[in-house]
């Protein structure tokens, strides 16, 4: 039953992600995760203060159900389908991370240095996660989508605006990884 525990190959994973997107189209919906953030803001009652959140979020409930399913899927995959052989990233990457003071995966999905239980007593790490989140929330709404909405759905539908957004994602990511990382860590 190796298939359950090993890292799933990119061609299997990519195909399944494509099929997930197509299933939602078949259901008469679209694949887009970041719009749930707007729904959550609206659910919290922010529509009374900001017009952008004054919309019928109940029509988007199906997407929140997708999110709930995804959370359950993440739980099952981590609890029952994990193995110490997972996250076998490039040894060069591991050496580079060590220089930044970030621990090697050894089967973990997330580094303890950034996501471990100790970070709650590190104001710097909390700030990094918070700012990262703000950039994700602000950027996805500004661009009108994230990896699912633009990179997967938009590119699959040959949308030029999505191509611009995806190039933007990568330029931003590269600036962060090469220019800003050394200053932050």
């Amino acid at each position: 039953m190796n298939i359950i525990f090993q890292t799933w190959p990119w061609y299997v994973s990519g195909f399944l992600i494509g099929m997930i997107m197509l299933s939602l189209i078949y259901f008469g919906k679209t694949f887009g995760m970041s719009s749930n953030l707007r729904s959550l803001c609206s659910m919290a009652g922010l529509g009374k203060r900001v017009a952008f959140f004054d919309f019928d979020w109940k029509a988007q409930r199906w997407n929140l159900v997708v999110v709930l399913g995804a959370m359950l899927g993440g739980f099952v995959a981590v609890q029952f389908m994990s193995d110490p052989s997972n996250v076998a990233i490039n040894p060069k990457t591991i050496a580079q991370l060590a220089q930044l003071g970030i621990d090697a995966p050894n089967g973990k999905l997330m580094p303890d240095a950034l996501f471990g239980p100790d970070i709650f007593s590190s104001p710097k790490t909390i700030l990094i996660l918070l700012i990262g989140g703000v950039l994700i929330g602000f950027g996805t709404r500004y661009a009108g989508g994230c990896t699912s909405g633009h990179a997967i759905t938009g590119l699959s539908n040959l949308q030029i605006p999505s191509l611009k957004a995806v190039i933007g994602f990568f330029i931003g990511g590269l600036i962060m990884a090469y220019l800003l990382f050394p200053l932050i860590f």
Binding site: L37, R38, G73, L114, H150, M176
Partner: protein, 137 residues
């Protein structure tokens, strides 16, 4: 069945993204360092599958689950919002290694610290809502 199908699609999505390790901070870092083909392979295969599927839908006029014609809305034309918004998201994506989907998946998997990222993402979304009319699109 109406709601269950969305739960099921989400469930598969959560498992695939975790088992492919696309939710992993390490995989995103490795991708931006060009030290592995893994993430690029996932994105390209997903888009390839998507292009074939959408072309089939369009050329064969396939119907959705309710028997209605499938219409996939085009994205609004424009440039500034896509370039600038994309750039901001890219900063965040590389910094905390998650896009919106994985934020939820990781929280479900019990990585509580990702709750800070989610709180930030909601704050960022709120910020956009407040500034929307002042930003160039």
């Amino acid at each position: 069945m109406k709601v269950i199908k969305y739960l099921l699609v989400g469930f598969v999505f959560g498992i695939v993204l975790t088992k492919s390790e696309a939710v992993s901070w390490y995989r995103i870092y490795e991708m931006f360092q060009f030290q592995s083909f893994h993430m690029y392979g996932i994105i390209m295969t997903a888009v390839g599958t998507g292009i074939i599927g959408i072309q089939l839908i369009k050329r064969k006029n396939l119907k959705d689950i309710k028997g209605l014609a499938i219409e996939i809305q085009d994205k609004e034309q424009g440039s500034t919002r896509y370039w600038v918004g994309g750039l901001f998201f890219g900063f965040g994506w590389a910094l905390v290694g998650s896009c919106p989907g994985p934020i939820f998946i990781l929280l479900g998997a019990g990585f509580w610290s990702v709750g800070i990222v989610l709180f930030g993402a909601l704050l960022g979304t709120y910020l956009y809502g407040v500034l929307k009319d002042k930003l160039p699109h």
